[in-house]
């Protein structure tokens, strides 16, 4: 652990080439304890690549990555389970770590999928699968959480609830989160720091700073910069996954 600033992972001017083409270049960023850093940018701008560099998945990179923790939780953007490998949700939960059964239950209930514990992964819907992926990543109480579009395919109310959960986790576990998302307006409220990518860092700073940035406007359009308003909508109740109403 770095002493001065609680830095968990630090990217120093990193880049990676594939077939003589730069996927990303000159990216510097850091994730601190208890902070959420969000990567935004158009398709193919190198968001996932940057996350994988931070995780140490890519080996032949330019620049360097300083990682100060080994307790990492990762939700990849895409994961496909082969039919030949029968895997239940509860087998998947202990994939990289021997997590106690109670903690598995807690994590599954946080993302609202306790009822899927015995189900086969191949039989889950896209949204259910995302919830399981997120539950697995948080169940090991990571210091660093890397979430690559964690709510893709999740229904709208679930999406908001999951983002609130992510925010809560960063506070509760005091873990640093590197988040990739396309949901500009929902995400920005929970984010401490935004990095806007387009093959390189086009701008970065607090959500408000980024929204005012001209390069950001050029990339996402004027509209996006206006919709980057605070999400202040409140419900007086929420639904559990089987549709039951829970009063707040």
């Amino acid at each position: 652990m770095s002493l001065e600033k609680n830095i968990l992972v630090k990217l120093n001017n990193v880049g990676i080439q594939q077939n003589d083409k730069w996927l990303v270049k000159g990216v510097s960023l850091e994730v601190e304890k208890g902070k959420i850093v969000t990567l935004i940018g158009p398709n193919g701008s190198g968001k996932s690549t940057t996350a994988k560099i931070a995780l140490g998945i890519y080996k032949n990179i330019e620049g360097n990555v300083e990682k100060f923790t080994n307790n990492v939780g990762y939700v990849p953007q895409k994961i496909s389970i082969d039919w030949t490998l029968p895997l239940r949700v509860k087998d998947f939960m202990v994939l990289t770590d021997n997590i106690k059964d109670e903690l598995i239950d807690v994590a599954l209930s946080l993302t609202g999928v306790t009822h899927l514990k015995e189900k086969n992964l191949g039989n889950l819907s896209g949204g259910e699968f995302q919830r399981v992926l997120l539950a697995r990543a948080i169940s090991k109480k990571p210091e660093l959480l890397v979430l690559d579009e964690p709510v893709q395919g999740v229904d709208f109310t679930g999406e908001i609830a999951l983002y609130e959960l992510i925010k809560k986790i960063s506070e509760k576990l005091n873990c640093g989160i590197l988040l990739i998302s396309h949901d500009l307006h929902t995400v920005m409220t929970a984010t401490d720091h935004v990095v806007c990518l387009n093959g390189h860092v086009c701008c970065s700073g607090s959500p408000k700073d980024v929204a005012r940035n001209n390069e950001y406007k050029a990339l996402f359009g004027e509209q996006a910069s206006q919709t980057l308003s605070v999400y202040e909508h409140k419900h007086d109740h929420e639904h559990s996954n089987d549709g039951e109403i829970k009063k707040n």
Binding site: K52, L55, G56, I57, N70, V72, G73, Y74, P76, I79, I81, D82, T84, L85, P86, L87, R88, D91, F92, L95, T96, D97, N120, N123, K140, V146
Partner: protein, 267 residues
Amino acid sequence: MFDDFFIRALVAGIGIAFVTGPLGCFVVWRRLSYFGDTLAHSALLGVTIAYTLEFNIAVSIFITSSIIALILVKLEKKTNLPGDALLGLLAHSSLAVGLVAIGFLTFIRFDIMGLLFGDILAVTTDDLLTIWIGGALILLVLRFIWKPLFASTVNYELAEAEGLNPDRAKAIFTILIAAIIAISIKMVGLLLITGMLIIPTAMARNLSDNPQKMVIFSIIGGLLSVFIGLFSSLEFNTPSGPSIVAAALVLFIFSLFKIKQTIQLKN
């Protein structure tokens, strides 16, 4: 009690089935059947080297297969040939070189049929030791690398990101495949070892809903194949390897009925 050749074969087969069960699961999950085949083909080269240098056969096969695996990794990085072409190249060229080398070794009498298809008469008490001690070692190592190997089988990037070192697990697993080929060649024969790895596992997949169950059913399938195969080999005087693999096939066919039922239930 090991005086009887049939008892020896049976004990050898049981030892092999315990190892091919779990290893076979990973071979199927990781789509390595042709890789296993390639290593098995190269075993013939290992046998000829063992005879030429008067060396232990199992050790010689183990080393040759490991070297072939290493060459494959190097070739994959060097050329743009697709993986299956590379596997075919190595499998058949090592088999050919092995057969040519046998042609030169005129001073030794080879039972080529026995090497290709297995021979229960050939199993000695020493072989039993090799199989059981070697097999125990393979299972021990597999247990040790299980977590990273399994996690990276499900998703490599997840395993790498969460610090499990999947590359090391994969390298060790390759060595384990070479080892199981080395210890089981006398029983099953080099053309059919992959069948012993894959068919009981394929049967197990039809009966299982989780990985542990699949490993257990795969072992049971292997054991049953060995029993049925060896008894019919004795009864009908057929070569041991094909008899065992044919028995495994029959079990696989039976398992298809079970899977049809579960699919119908789900829909």
